[in-house]
């Protein structure tokens, strides 16, 4: 049985109508205890392009309810179902599932996202995670954080009163999470990566850096308000990255010559890399967590210039990076890949500078 009951012939053409349906089902206790909501950003122009990409990834389109699709794919012989709503407001699909985050979602949905050039999950940077938390704390002073994990990267510009040169990774459980996180921010310069939050409105959810929002209780309307705010923040990032390009231009009297022009997007860091950081960078970026491969690179020491052609092992996309320390220029090769770009940015945020910004 599918995890949301929808009468045949129903049509949801706005996100709000679907949210209202979810809340109706919730009041009637017809929903699973936890629903994982995975908002994405995409470069699809139409729902048709989105459907095409799903079919290419061998998803079964089981039903269509206006802009809402019921889709499924097998993972270890088990059918994993998703409801996917194509939000025409920002051309970005939102997926809902009761499947497990550990295996089922990575094997099906994330496999599709990683291999498809035009869609990415929301890799939420630690600084944006902090912003989400701070905004909610301001709106709901009674908010509880019951669990969090936090990070501090080696080159962070975030002030740390104690041993600022230390890289940090921590997990915390306890109803005083909000206060503890504040203290960790001040004393240890830690930023949140995963948050488990309970709001006085009854909404309880967990949000992680891969952009998976696990709704546990409360009104979906409230949850989606938060999700939509996060999506809006990430849409700016998408719009910036998608200005990068790879183009073949013809020239000469009879257009007899051609050349490939790469237009980059850039990541700016507060402290940046030096030549000694490059071996570690190469090791980490090629690790199983990130799945990139360096095809070829050149490092010129002295005044650092590091240049590399990278392969995204998930999608096969290629891109070039060039850095002279504080800025990394990322150049698409042949085709721009939103998912690779977002993952590479998240890599920089996770390992080089938690506060790195695009632009």
């Amino acid at each position: 049985m599918d995890f949301i009951t929808i009468a045949s012939g129903s049509k949801f053409n706005t996100l709000l109508s679907f949210i209202n349906h979810l809340d109706y089902e919730r009041i009637n206790f017809r929903l699973p205890n936890v629903i994982n909501i995975i908002p994405t950003i995409s470069t699809f122009d139409t729902i048709g392009q989105f459907v095409e990409s799903l079919e290419e990834a061998e998803f079964d389109i089981e039903n269509e309810y206006g802009k809402l699709l019921l889709i499924s794919k097998k993972s270890q012989n088990e059918k994993i179902s998703y409801y996917a709503f194509f939000n025409e407001k920002n051309n970005s699909p939102i997926f809902l599932t009761d499947a497990k985050k550990t295996e089922d979602i990575p094997n099906t949905l994330f496999n599709y996202i990683n291999k498809t050039h035009g869609i990415s999950n929301l890799w939420i940077p630690p600084k944006i995670m902090k912003q989400i938390k701070d905004d909610l704390a301001l709106e709901y002073p009674e908010m509880l954080i019951t669990k969090f994990s936090g990070v501090r990267s080696i080159n962070s510009e975030i002030h740390s009163k104690l041993r600022p040169y230390c890289e940090r990774n921590l997990q915390y459980h306890g109803n005083d999470g909000k206060e503890t996180l504040k203290e960790m921010e001040i004393w240890y310069g830690v930023l949140p990566k995963i948050l488990e939050i309970r709001l006085p409105t009854g909404v309880a959810f967990k949000i992680d850096d891969k952009g998976i929002f696990s709704h546990r209780s409360g009104r979906f309307e409230d949850s989606f308000k938060i999700i939509n705010n996060v999506v809006d923040l990430m849409i700016d990032l998408r719009d910036y990255i998608t200005k990068s390009d790879y183009e073949i231009r013809h020239f000469g009297k009879t257009n007899q010559f051609s050349r490939a022009i790469q237009k980059p997007w850039s990541i700016r860091m507060s402290y940046g890399l030096d030549a000694d950081d490059i071996p570690k960078f190469c090791d980490l970026v090629q690790g199983s967590d990130w799945n990139f491969t360096i095809l070829k690179d050149v490092l010129l020491t002295g005044s650092i210039l590091y240049n590399a052609r990278m392969i995204d092992d998930n999608s096969g996309a290629l891109f070039d990076i060039t850095t002279t320390g504080k800025k990394i220029d990322v150049f698409p090769v042949i085709q721009r890949d939103l998912s690779s770009s977002m993952r590479f940015y998240q890599f920089v945020l996770s390992h080089i500078d938690n506060t790195a910004q695009v632009g």
Binding site: K115, Y246, R249, F251, G252, K253, T254, Q256, F257, S258, R259, A260, I261, Q262, K263, P264, Q286, T293, I294, L295, K296, V298, L300, G302, S303, I304, L305, N307, R309, I311, D313, S315, G316, L318, D320, T322, T324, D329, F331, V333
Partner: protein
């Protein structure tokens, strides 16, 4: 070891080894493998790693020169556009010692062109000047042909020649240029007076015109003397390979970077390491930015592909599966593992092969000296020879 005649002049290691006495053979094996090959393999490993490093830097330098003239404010203000790499490559094999420049930029509005030679190492400047002189001769001999290619008439007087180097190598080059231009001895030395020096500053990714040199185009002189590069650019020019790039790097970039990556992603392909020649050729063509028409490009790339396959087979990087397919020979499936293994294999096999060749020469010299000692006088030698 009993008396035996040493190798004759001009006799190779293999020729001598074929008829040598068993004890001599054993001695030769010992000298070759234990004395020479061990040390030579280490030396050649360092040599090839350095060679690849220099090749990658040379590629970087070509891109640095090309990109500042690929639809930039510099190209707009000066009229110079990057046209293509390796001008006249199609003629370079017609005559022995034909040399070519790395790239050409041209100005259609005043029918002028600048041929650029990049050098990423600080090795023999004298030899480079000789090569540039030879490349200039090829340009001068083919002005009409070049004019047709470019689409405007190109006269000898409207051509300039640039020598582009990393800024920390520029002083040595300048000294060499000054020495040759003040004391011209040969035809090659005349180019020293004409050459214009560009310096590449990698930290800022900028090109700077040497302060005492000038271009005919005053705007170009002014802009390049102020340095022009990354900070002024919105775009970059992609040059995945050029024909004179080190063959291993073309194999790495095209066969692994494009063909293998494509196979690795394709779930329907079970034999990931089998690459079709069509696939290889397609990527070579798609990434070719030469000044050739499609037929010429295809012809030259067909030859290049066969050469690269033969090179790969010789270094044991590929095996031929059938007329249309090759297979990458290395363990592992993940792109990172394949790249690392293929590189390691190339460096080992190349060094091993070079060390073997050199070790044979050194061993032959050693054995020659050793055996010659048995004949203290010429008379002893003649006696042994006649017996």
């Amino acid at each position: 070891m009993r008396s035996i005649l040493p190798p004759q002049d001009g006799e190779t290691y293999d020729e001598f080894y074929a008829h040598a006495d068993l004890d001599v053979k054993k001695e030769m094996d010992k000298i070759k493998n234990e004395v020479w090959k061990k040390t030579l393999t280490i030396t050649y490993k360092e040599t090839i790693q350095k060679e690849l490093d220099i090749a990658k830097k040379h590629h970087l330098l070509i891109i640095a020169c090309a990109k500042i003239f690929a639809d930039t404010s510099l190209s707009e203000k000066t009229g110079y556009q990057f046209y293509f790499t390796e001008p006249l490559i199609e003629l370079s094999s017609q005559r022995k010692n034909n040399r070519i420049f790395d790239l050409i930029i041209a100005n259609e509005s005043d029918c002028s062109a600048i041929f650029i030679e990049c050098k990423s190492s600080d090795s023999d400047a004298k030899e480079t000047i000789k090569q540039i002189s030879s490349a200039r001769d090829l340009v001068i001999e083919n002005l009409e042909y070049l004019s047709k290619k470019l689409g405007f008439p190109l006269e000898k007087e409207n051509i300039e020649y640039v020598y582009c180097v990393f800024y920390d190598h520029s002083q040595g080059i300048l000294n060499s240029l000054i020495a040759r231009s003040t004391r011209p001895n040969t035809n090659h030395d005349t180019i020293a007076n004409e050459l214009i020096l560009w310096e590449y500053l990698p930290g800022a990714q900028e090109i700077r015109l040497y302060s005492e040199h000038q271009h005919n185009n005053s705007q170009l002189t002014e802009m390049l003397q102020k340095r022009y590069g990354d900070k002024d650019l919105a775009n970059q020019f992609d040059l995945p390979y050029y024909l004179n790039l080190h063959p291993f790097l073309i194999i790495n970039d095209i066969i692994i970077g494009y063909c293998y990556t494509e196979n690795y992603q394709n779930e329907r392909i079970t034999e990931k390491k089998v690459i079709s020649k069509n696939q290889f050729f397609k990527h070579l063509v798609e990434n070719a930015y030469f000044g050739l028409n499609p037929e010429e490009t295809k012809k030259i790339l067909k030859e290049k592909m066969e050469y690269l396959i033969e090179f790969g087979v010789r270094c044991d990087l590929f095996e031929i599966i059938d007329e249309d397919h090759i297979k990458i020979k290395c363990p592992g499936l993940k792109p990172r593992v394949v790249i690392e293994n293929i590189r390691e294999k190339f460096i080992t096999n190349w060094s091993d092969c070079k060390a073997e060749e050199r070790a044979k020469i050194e061993t032959l010299n050693d054995i020659k000296r050793k055996l010659a000692k048995q004949f203290p006088t010429l008379e002893d030698f003649d006696n042994a020879k006649n017996n």
